[in-house]
């Protein structure tokens, strides 16, 4: 796909295909065919007005053939797949054209004055030769049309692929969960009664969280720093919704390193959401979620570890694992083979390690 686009940027190809050069292309065709007709015939035994008449006849008929071929025969018969009919019609066109040329020669008044003989003698050989030369020229115009069509199709296919990929990527991005939002609002309503300061803080965190989801989520890339802030906001808000949950986000490395790193937005959200969902403890343990970011060489390592209660079974078994399938698809679209994802699950702990190229 990329190679195709690069190819398209070379000058000769642009000249052949681009709509901007349309008029120029026609001019070149007209001039080149004129030169081709006149140049080999300069040393012709004919001279004077008959010669000009001859060139004119050949030129006009040849150009007419080219255009009939390019704008009638090729689009109507060739592009619709009726190749045999096309070839028959093309041969017929060439045959008729040559017959027309020769009868135009005969119609020249001067031929009566002694030259008719020579023309007639030449006729058999010339006609045969002319048929092949003309056919070759016409087929070149067919090839031009074919080439144009081929490049346009390629472009269209590439664009379609691009759009499909982009749409798929958009779909794989996590969306705001309205249920989360309404529960958050309900929680804030409770905090307003009891703890104004905390309510304030939660509204700020929720605003940041929403701003990120609504605006930055649509960008192709976002600063790793804002992604980390987003995850931290998300986890802090989730902590409010739970009786017991301890959370820590560990970022190893200097701020300078992290300030320069861009990642696709919401790439880690699915893992953290999963950690929240599966860290529910039903037997009185201490649930935890540990998130860690670290730069190792030219790689970014993300890890997310959460506690598990073996007795806990999430409600929606049907949708379970769908998030992980989606994120794998998204990673494959974004990084092809360039990433590694390790998922480990024990009785009491679930851990994810994701290594991304920088």
């Amino acid at each position: 796909m990329k190679a195709e686009l690069e190819l398209k940027n070379t000058k000769p190809l642009q000249f052949m295909v681009d709509d901007r050069y349309r008029i120029l292309r026609h001019v070149v065709l007209l001039v080149v065919s004129l030169v081709l007709i006149i140049y080999p015939n300069l040393s012709s035994e004919y001279s004077g007005p008959f010669n000009y008449y001859r060139w004119l006849c050949i030129y006009v008929v040849l150009i007419a053939m080219c255009y009939i071929n390019m704008y009638v025969l090729v689009p109507i018969f060739f592009f619709t797949g009726r190749y045999l009919l096309y070839l028959v019609l093309l041969a017929l066109l060439v045959f008729l054209s040559l017959t027309l040329i020769s009868s135009l020669f005969h119609a020249y008044p001067d031929t009566v004055t002694g030259r008719l003989e020579e023309v007639c003698n030449e006729k058999g050989k010339g006609f045969f030769q002319g048929f092949f030369i003309t056919s070759a020229i016409i087929l070149i115009t067919t090839m031009i049309k074919l080439f144009q069509r081929w490049t346009k199709d390629n472009e269209r296919i590439a664009e379609l692929n691009n759009i499909t990929l982009r749409m798929e990527l958009n779909e794989l991005r996590s969306q705001i969960n309205p249920h989360f939002l309404f529960n958050m609002l309900n929680g804030i309503k409770a905090l307003i009664r009891t703890d104004h300061e905390k309510a304030n803080l939660v509204i700020m965190k929720l605003s940041e969280f929403l701003r990120y989801q609504i605006y930055e989520n649509n960008d192709e890339k976002t600063l790793l720093k804002s992604e980390i802030t987003f995850l931290s906001n998300f986890l802090n808000l989730e902590m409010l919704r739970r009786d017991k949950l301890s959370v820590d986000i560990n970022v190893q490395g200097t701020p300078e390193i992290f300030n320069g790193i861009y990642v696709p937005p919401n790439l880690f959200t699915t893992f953290v959401e999963n950690a929240v969902k599966h860290s529910v403890d039903v037997s009185g343990g201490e649930p935890y979620i540990h998130v860690k970011f670290i730069v190792v060489g030219a790689e970014l390592h993300f890890s997310c570890i959460n506690s598990r209660d073996p007795l806990f079974v999430p409600n929606d078994q049907k949708n379970s694992g769908l998030g992980l399938v989606n994120i794998k698809r998204r990673l494959a679209l974004l990084y092809q083979e360039g990433y590694t994802l390790t998922v480990e699950s024990t009785e009491n702990q679930f851990s994810v390690l994701l290594k991304l190229p920088l």
């Binding site: 609002l185 309900n186 929680g187 919704r241 009786d243 999430p314």
Partner: protein
């Protein structure tokens, strides 16, 4: 009247407690973070009303409501609007969306109190004693009440009883809604959902999900939609999907 709250979110429980205390004087016996601890509590305590969250880990509010005995009323509290119809099939008193509106809660609690009063009148002793072309006889407190069909606005199935809504009063009797419906003239009374049979002549307006009779709003059940629309509109209105 007393109640308990079941919700997995601590702040949601706090909010519910505060709201209940604000709008009513019903006694809150306890708050529970999951269905199984609440169920344990119910084994040894008589609870009249449960404020029940739907989306909870392991056992959802809907699963929990199925387990409840007939004497306990349920008001669902949830952030998900899509469970509303399902909740009515479980004979819930009401369905409140979070964040919860105080007036809406007040209305729901009043409704629950009304039903509790009806249920406390020993509805087992109220029995349908017969029916004629125009009326129904219901025995209550050793007296026979004559109820004209044309006075019945709608009939509501609630647990093991039916509540007959008349213009001026409500009567409760022990019978399931299906059997009761068969005693009514079929051309006037239409079953519109698992919990409601409505008198066609009292319907003021309706849309694709709800029938409006004065201040009452009755949901139209999925299963009954087609029949309702074809009977009521003579086939000119088709249910939306």
């Amino acid at each position: 009247m007393n109640c308990i709250i079941v919700d997995d979110e601590p702040l949601a429980r706090a909010e519910m407690e505060a709201l209940i205390n604000e709008v009513s004087s019903i006694k809150i016996l306890g708050s529970f973070s999951n269905a199984w601890t609440a169920l344990d509590f119910l084994k040894s305590n008589q609870v009249d009303l449960i404020f029940l969250d739907i989306e909870m880990p392991m056992v959802t509010g809907l699963d929990f409501a199925v387990e409840l005995s007939g004497s306990t009323l349920v008001i669902f509290t949830t952030a998900y609007p899509q469970y509303a119809l399902k909740s009515y099939e479980l004979d819930a008193i009401d369905y409140l969306l979070k964040p919860i509106d105080k007036r809406r809660l007040d209305k729901a609690i009043k409704k629950a109190e009304n039903y509790q009063k009806l249920l406390s009148d020993n509805p087992e002793k109220n029995t349908v004693e017969g029916n004629t072309k125009d009326f129904l006889l219901i025995k209550s407190d050793r007296r026979f009440h004559r109820i004209k069909f044309e006075d019945i606005r709608f009939v509501e199935g609630l647990k093991d009883y039916v509540v007959i809504h008349l213009a001026s009063q409500k009567l409760i009797t022990a019978m399931n809604l299906k059997t009761f419906h068969q005693k009514l003239p079929q051309d006037i009374f239409l079953r519109v959902s698992k919990s409601y049979v409505v008198n066609k002549n009292y319907i003021e307006s309706f849309d694709h999900h709800t029938i409006y009779l004065g201040t009452n709003e009755l949901p139209i059940g999925e299963v009954y939609k087609r029949e309702f629309f074809s009977t009521y509109s003579g086939g000119s209105i088709l249910p939306e999907n």
